[in-house]
Symmetry: C2
Subunit: 158 residues, 2 copies
DNA sequence: GTCATTTAGTTCCGCGTGGAACTTATTCTC
DNA sequence: GAGAATAAGTTCCACGCGGAACTAAATGAC
């Protein structure tokens, strides 16, 4: 009856919000990451902290749990859980540091690399679908802007 | 002893990751949102879904819970919980729709507007601190790029 | 060398989250 | 108009998350 149902759209909403940059950043980030990690969890049974661990170790040969925590910004208990599960699945290896009995030397195994490759391509494909409307030039611009922000943000945090 | 401790930095890590746009977007978004909502929760006792509800209602006079769910992309049970708490705190009002007995007509109250104003300024200040290194021009560029992405993304989703 | 302090990693616990099933109301079909 | 299908909102439950307290190891002070 009352067909004057003007249900507002997310796009319209994003234009009204007081902190537009934040809203847009959050929206785009979620549009990539949420479906990507949902798929990764469904298909590979790997949760986010676990993948971030694999991701870190695929780029640095040896890291401690603390390093991973710093690199990813996740709390160390999350990393600790991830380490245990990835150890159990054989995706990483762990050895006590000889020089410091507190630290662990973590490294990725071949099966971990395989898993990383699969997950990476999943995330990449979601990224490409979401950012498809940007030209190569625009993507470079986006990266350089975000880069500028992160360099300053990290510097200020220290 | 082994002072060759080259603990890698998040900034360096961001340059190596295979999906750089996603990593940067996620990093910047988190840098704004996480501390902002942590502060909001600590100071005002309002959690994220609750604030998103207030935010929606501060921009549209009447919405149903379903509308809020669509606008924010959050599942309807999260919105439902938020509605109950905001009702209890007097930040929103609810009335059954006359035309459709299933829907609720939600609206924000003066106290809800006050709360929204406080939270908004908190989020805004975190946004400004994080994006401080961008010029006005660069911010416009960033917005337009993200805008382009969201318009296309929403269109494709429909 | 001994004791206090700091640090890496783990365990514990409470909470926000979201999928799924459920209830109630509306709409569609015949 | 009766029954099926859809839709709005709620409740239930399992899970990932992160702060806080804890253990073990190393470092600093004296």
């Amino acid at each position: 009856m009352a067909m004057t149902e003007e249900t507002p759209t997310p796009t319209d909403f994003l234009k009204r919000v007081e902190f537009r940059e934040t809203a847009l950043l959050s929206f785009v980030t979620s549009a990539i990451i949420e479906p990507a990690y949902e798929q990764v969890q469904r298909e590979f049974g790997i949760i986010r902290a676990e993948y971030m661990l694999l991701l870190c170790l695929s780029h640095y040969p040896i890291l401690s749990a603390r390093d991973v925590s710093i690199l990813t910004g996740r709390p160390k208990n999350s990393i600790s859980r991830a380490v245990h599960r990835m150890l159990a699945l054989g995706h990483i290896a762990r050895a006590r540091s000889a020089s410091d009995g507190r630290q662990d030397h973590l490294s990725i195994t071949p099966s971990g690399r395989e898993m990383h490759a699969k997950i990476m391509s999943t995330v990449l494909s979601h990224q490409e679908v979401t950012l498809i409307s940007l030209t190569a030039d625009e993507r470079r611009t986006l990266i350089s802007l975000l880069d500028k922000v992160t360099c300053q943000a990290v510097g200020a945090g220290t």
